[in-house]
C-alpha cells in the first residue's frame, strides 16, 4: 500500500493548529475566535488519529472521541455564553469584554 507519508498528516495538522492559533490571537469577532478554537481541537484530533493509525493502537481514536465530545459540550456552553453576552453587551467584539480585569 502506497500510503501518504506520516509527515504530511502532521504538517497538515500543524498548519491547521497554527491557523487556529493565529485566528484566535488576531480576530476580534468572538464567533471567529470560537471557530479558531474548534480548528485547533480538530488539528489535534488529526494528529491523534494519525498516530493511532501509525502505531496500530486504539488509544488515539478513543482520545479523538473524547475531544469531540468535549468540543461539542464546549460549543454548547460557549455559544450559550456568547448569546448571553450578545444580549447584555450588544457586541461580538472580544476586546470590549474585559470585565474580569483586576
Amino acid at each position: 500500500m502506497n500510503a501518504v507519508p506520516l509527515s504530511w498528516y502532521l504538517i497538515l495538522s500543524a498548519v491547521l493548529f497554527s491557523l487556529g492559533v493565529a485566528g484566535f490571537l488576531v480576530r476580534r469577532n468572538i464567533i471567529t475566535v470560537f471557530m479558531s478554537i474548534e480548528l485547533m481541537l480538530n488539528a489535534v484530533n488529526l494528529s491523534f488519529v494519525t498516530f493511532s493509525y501509525q502505531f496500530k493502537q486504539a488509544d488515539g481514536h478513543i482520545f479523538t472521541f473524547f475531544v469531540m465530545v468535549v468540543a461539542a459540550a464546549e460549543a454548547a456552553v460557549g455559544l450559550a455564553i456568547i448569546l448571553a453576552l450578545v444580549r447584555t453587551r450588544r457586541t461580538l467584539e472580544v476586546d470590549e469584554v474585559n470585565l474580569l480585569k483586576f
Binding site: V21, F24, L25, V33, V94, V97, N98, L100, K101, F102
Partner: protein, 618 residues
Amino acid sequence: MLHLWLIPAFPLAGFLLNGLFGRRAPKLFVNLVGVGSVALSFLWVLNTLAALGPLETPHIERYFTWIQSGELRIGFDLVADRLSAVMMLVVTGVGLLIHVYSIGYMAHESGYYRFFAYLNLFMFFMLLLVMAGNFLLLFVGWEGVGLCSYLLIGFWFLKKSAADAGKKAFIVNRIGDFGFSLAIYLIVAHFGTLDFDPVFAAVRERPLETDAGLLTLVALLLLVGATGKSAQVPLYVWLPDAMEGPTPVSALIHAATMVTAGVYMTARCAPIYLQAPIALEAVAWVGAFTAFFAATIGLAQHDIKKVFAYSTISQLGYMFLGAGVGAFSAGIYHLVTHAFFKALLFLGAGSVIHALGGEQDLRRMGGLRKQAPVTFWTLLCAAVAIAGVPPFSGFHSKDAILLAAHHHSPALYWIGVVTAALTAFYVFRALFLAFFGDYRGDPHHHPHESPPVMTVPLMALAALSLAGGYFGVPAWLEPMFPVSEPAHDVALVVVSVIAGLAGIATAWWFYVARPGLADRVAAQLGGLYQLVYNKYFVDEIYGAAVVRPVVEGSEKLAWRTLDVSVIDGMVNGLGARAQSLGDVLRRIQSGNVRSYAAWVLFGAVLVVVAFGFWGGWQ
C-alpha cells in the same frame, strides 16, 4: 518526731484565718488569731527546745519531697540545731512582743486584719528560713520574708512613696537573691545535693586545691545575697526607704529579724566560708565599711526612724564584721542583742510618733520626758545597750566582735571603735532631741503616753536589752563554729567603752548643754555636711547610673528601635515587598482574553525552545 512543723504552721494558719475571714471578723478575732498564733508558736519553740535538751547533734525532721527531678531530691526538711534554736527563740520571742505592741499601735488603722495577716505570713516565712534543712527551703523563706517586707512597707499603698519603697525593697532584694540563687545552682552542680549536712561535709572533706576557686565563688555569691537581704553596701539603699512601713514592721522586719537573715545565712554557711578565706575577708570588709558608712549618714538625719534605719545598717555591718573575722558566734550574739535593743528603739520611736500624732521629725519634738516617761526610760535602756555601756547587752556582743576583729586585723578594730563612738552619738542625739529641751512641735497637739498594750512590750524588751548580755549565746554556739578564741584584752575593751562614752558626752554637749551648737558646726562643715545629709547621693547615683539607662535604653533602644523599627520593620517590609510584587504581577492579569492566549503561546514556544536546547527529560 517533735512536730517541728507546728512552729511555722501556727503563724501560717493565723495568716490564712485572718486573710480569708479577717475583713468581716471583729477586731477581737483578728487580735486573737494574729497574736495567739505567734504565742502558740513561741510556746511550741520552748516546748520543743525543752524536749531536745542540749542539742549536741542537729535534730532533723523530713516531711515530704518537695521537688524531685532526676537524681536531685529537695525535701521539705526542718532542722533544729543550736543555731536555729537561737534564731527561733529570737524570732518568735521578739515577734510576739511586737505583735502585742501592734494591737495598740495599729488600733486606728483601716486594714487592721491585713496588717496582722501579713505579719503572721512573715513569721511563717522567717521561721521557715531559720529552720530550713536545705538551701532551697532557706531560699523559700528568704524570698518569702522579702515578699512580706514588700507588702508591709507598702501597707499604706495609697501613698506613692510607700508603694515605691516597697517595690524598691523587693527589686534590690531580688538583685541580692540573684547572687544567692547562683550560689545554689553552683552547689547543686558541684555537690549534687542541697541538704546542709552533705554539702558541708563534702566541703570539709574535699581537697581545697581543686575546690578553692569554686568555693570562693560560691561564698562570694552568697555574700551578694546577704548584702541584699541584710542591707549592706552596695545594696543597702532599700532599708532607709523601708521606713515608710508602719513602725512595728520596721521593728520586727527591718531591725530584729528579716534583715539579720543575711548574718544567719553567713553563719549557717560557715563551713563554706572557712574554706574560702578571700570571701571571708570580703565579708569582714563589707561589714566594717558598711558599719562606718551608715553610721556617718545616721549622724545627720532628722527623721527619727531614718536615724534608726541607718543605725540598723551600721549594726548589721558589725555582725558581718564579726562573721568575717571568723567570730561567727559573736556575730550571732550581736544579732540577738541587737534584736532586743533595736526592736526596742523602733518600738520606742513608734511610741513617740504615736504620742505626737504621726510626727517623725526630730526637729519638731523635744521635752517628751515628762509626757511619756515609760517611753523615755525604756528608750534610754536601749540607748545605753546600743552605745556599748557596760554591763548592758550591747557591750558584751560588740566587745566580742571587736576583740575578734583586733585579733584578725587592727584596722578593722579601729573602724569598729570609731563606729561605736558615732553610734553612741547619733542614738543619744535622737534621744536628747526627742526627750530633752522644750517641745518644738505643733503647740495645739498635746503629747501623751502610749497605752499599756504598747508600753508593756517596751518594758519587756528593755529588760532584755539590759540583761541580754548574760544569756551565754557564744558558749551555746561554740560547738557549731571552730573559733579561735582571742585573748581577752582589757585595754581594747576600755578603748571601745571610752569611745562609746565619748559619743554620749558629745551628744550631751551638742544637744542638751549647748543647744544650737550642732547647727553652727554643721554650717561650718558646709559641703561635707551636705554630703552626709544627702546620704552621699547614693540613690541619685544609682538612679542616674543604673535605673535611668535601663529604663530609657529599654524604651528607646530595645523597644522602639530594635523591636518596632528593625525586627517588625523587616516583617512589615517583607509584607510590603510581597504587595508591591503583586502590584507588578497583576498587570499581566489584564482581563483581555487574547493577551492571555498570547502569553500561553509565548510560554509554549518557550517550552519548545527549552526542549530543543536541553533535550527533553533525559
